[in-house]
Symmetry: C2
Subunit: 493 residues, 2 copies
């Protein structure tokens, strides 16, 4: 076969994969937002079948052969890069026996159901046997994929290429040196009043404000859509189909707003990737840390600023005159920036957030090096929350059962949340050198900020690794000091 013939086969294969990925993505979005629960079983069985079809296509023998040749051929560098990534994935995926893979998919489905049951009944012991199996089988799967590499290192790398335990140890080590001391300081000196954020905010009003906010964020219905789900997420089909969801809480003024800005950060990233990467690995394989860097950048470094609220607070106040009539802009901004150790990661503030992640990282590491076991892991969890955050966990539901990642076999994923936030601090430092962020926020030119992100970060997709993008954009390798300095300046005073 000539290179051109191989490239044609490659193109057809990419298209075919992208068709199944599109279908699975839409079926998932539909399930999470609108599909009647009564049809879950019928749909899930068929969705699993279609996933299996995608797996078969993805691990096709002829394509492994073709990719192995194309990955070193003299071809367009973008395509070559995509092929190199896919070749690595396909070779590793093909090493997993198909029966094992199907059993594993069934295991994580079951495990998810038992996690949910355990959470509902507030009883970790219901979930423990499944978590134990998930840990074992996930380890086995990564060993199939790459027998040479430590499985947990391999998992960390699969969520954030280039990362491993040693690098994360350095990163979390640096955080451990400064964040706990900052938290102690903040706890001692806490005096901002944020109680007015947690009174009755009717959902109709919140939805009305959301219409304004989505316009401010230039979240254009031509390429985007916002639905509602229990757990907000972002899903993208292609450049011009990037969907998010949000969740409205009746007693919380800010939760839906910050989650919307966060998810729109993911959506803007997918939307801004160079459209020639549509349907290819260069869009779909963006690392979790890089994606999180963009959502966190928008949520923390834009939407928690005074400039952002100079533009938006008047509208919010007008929507909720009873609740906010007496609250000044300064008081409002102070309230949404209050840091306070708490039990639940997704509701935590900027300062304590990385400690929630650190705890999960240390547990994952311990589960794989054998120093921690799933037995009584809720107690281990509770002890670490007391140690790092000074809070007492009184229920499994708000303790170890709060997240579903482990139930789903997503191990090695959590650390990217903190890493992405640190990436964001470094990007933000550069952005503030290049453009007048505050003036743009204040004058409702959010799109100009997205434009800077597109030019410097988004458009590459995963043509380059996170560390390369960081260097291209900021002229410097990844440096967690930007993040630590940001936290110190913001919370140390």
């Amino acid at each position: 076969m000539t290179v051109d013939e191989m490239l044609k086969k490659y193109e057809e294969w990419t298209f075919k994969k992208s068709a199944y990925m599109m279908a699975l993505s839409i079926i998932n979005f539909d399930k999470m937002t609108v599909a009647p629960a009564g049809g879950n079983e019928y749909r899930d069985e068929r969705t699993a079948f279609l996933s299996g079809e995608l797996f078969s296509i993805s691990t096709d023998d002829e394509m492994i052969e073709i990719l192995s040749k194309l990955k070193d051929a003299d071809i367009d560098p973008d395509i070559k890069k995509s092929i190199q990534m896919e070749y690595k994935d396909i070779v590793e995926a093909a090493r997993v026996p198909k029966d094992f893979y199907i059993d594993y998919q069934n295991l994580v489905s079951t495990s998810h159901n038992y996690w949910l049951k355990a959470k509902q009944e507030d009883d970790y012991s219901i979930f423990e046997p499944y978590l134990k199996q998930v840990i074992e089988k996930t380890k086995q799967m990564y060993l199939y994929m790459d027998p040479e590499t430590d499985p947990y290192d391999k998992m960390l790398d699969s969520y954030e290429p280039g990362m491993n335990k040693a690098k994360y140890d350095d990163f979390f080590g640096a955080l451990k040196e400064s964040v706990p001391a900052l938290i102690r300081k903040v706890v001692e000196r806490q005096n901002a009043d944020d109680s007015f954020l947690y009174i009755d905010y009717d959902i109709e009003g919140q939805k009305k404000f959301m219409e304004h906010l989505l316009k401010y964020l230039h979240f254009d219905p031509e390429w985007s859509y916002q639905g509602e789900t229990e757990h907000p997420f972002t899903d993208w089909v292609c450049e011009n189909d990037c969907r998010t969801t949000t969740k409205y809480l009746p007693n919380n003024a800010i939760s839906a707003i910050l989650s919307t800005v966060h998810e729109c950060g993911h959506a803007w990233y997918a939307h801004n990737v160079d459209d020639k990467y549509d349907g290819t690995a260069l869009l779909s394989n963006i690392s979790f840390g890089m994606h999180e860097s963009q959502s966190r950048l928008c949520e923390n470094y834009l939407a928690r600023t005074e400039s952002f609220w100079k533009a938006n607070y008047p509208v919010l106040k007008e929507t909720f005159p009873e609740q906010l009539g007496e609250v000044s802009l300064d008081e409002f901004v102070a309230a949404i920036n209050v840091a306070r150790p708490s039990l639940v990661r997704t509701e935590s503030d900027e300062l304590t957030y990385p400690m929630h992640i650190l705890i999960r990282y240390e547990i994952e590491k311990g589960l794989f090096d054998g120093t921690i076991s799933t037995e009584a892991l809720n107690e281990t969890w509770n002890a670490m929350y007391e140690k790092y955050l000074g809070v007492k966990v009184t229920s499994d539901r708000e303790g170890i059962l709060q997240d579903d990642h482990w139930a789903d076999g997503a191990i090695g994923y959590f650390p990217t949340y903190a890493l992405g936030t640190a990436f964001a601090a470094q990007f933000m430092y550069q952005m503030r050198k290049d453009i007048d962020v505050d003036s743009l926020l204040e004058n409702s030119h959010y799109d100009e900020i997205m434009k800077w992100l597109r030019e410097n970060i988004h458009r590459y997709g995963c043509r380059y690794k996170a560390e390369e993008v960081l260097e291209k954009c900021t002229g410097e390798k990844f440096n967690p000091e930007y993040y630590i300095k940001y936290l110190e300046e913001k919370f140390g005073e």
Copy 2:
């Protein structure tokens, strides 16, 4: 291969087809309700690919062989019936050359786009060349499928098994004898005031009433969901996943209500089919006339009655006190039953509706027997509207371009709308003998009516043909007199 082995293959094949059908159904619902238009092209190309996959699976040679043996084997009669239907479909589909099929799919996509453009620009000539091709190619496709049968007869049969021109000529002949005279009478004597239905009804209020209505209809979120689209429709994935859509008009009190009851009629049908038919042809192949009989039954024979509104009018009045405060129940019911010749089928009343269909049927017949051509078809259309309905069509948009069926190649479909309405009259006559419909409607026991429909009609799916279900249910063959008598009694006084 033993019969059991063949049955196992058949089961796998059915499951596989149902997975693709589920995906396509969800992708379509998503596109119609929420998907950003910017992604249409990307998604459409991939959706076409997945349709092609389904086509290949459906016309698999080995399966034709297996079905040809199973269709006469000594097996479960339900499965046998399903296989017989599928065998007929598969044999005919397999006769269509794949290239021709793909070209045809592309043609109808293009044709739909030009229909839309023509409608937007109110200019039939933009659409005419595509309609001409669609007519030719559709004819060709049906000739491939069955070279022995007149193509238009074949189309009619494909939407309503057992029907053909001769039978429809009888049916429409009977309607032509009585309906035009009734229309003339109604036009002369018209005195009910329905203008209050067409003032400002804010959409928020309509949505509030809809919450009540969906509860009244026992449209349970466990198996159903209602979205919003430009053109309301119903889509079903399985027994417990039946979705509908509706459309709210700001200056129309009744449009969203009647369309909701109509679509819920389709949804209840799909929901009530015996669940052992999930994923099989016995659910998915229900004829268009039978489906329409159930939606029309709910819309016309239930939701236009005084009993229905005894239960619902107080809530509607409470929702719109300014608009309906002075309107009595009698006046309201009279208003929603006003008959008045008009231009647009989907907004027409019960009495004039069949004439809209008759016109389309006569045009389709003429296009295929060569007595009518696509050239200046808008003028032919307009002349027929003047002849049968006494109205002058002044724009193509509200004339020949109002419906997209022909643009999509759906020829032979329209007649089922009138036929289904006639089926419904016959079913209704029997239902009123068996249960006290008015008392059930008045006392909010809509579910009891659905139960009667399930027992007597819905549960069979398409295990039996329409004519067999009619005979099972009413003890009589199809008899259009029930429909004509109903119209005469209602509008003749």
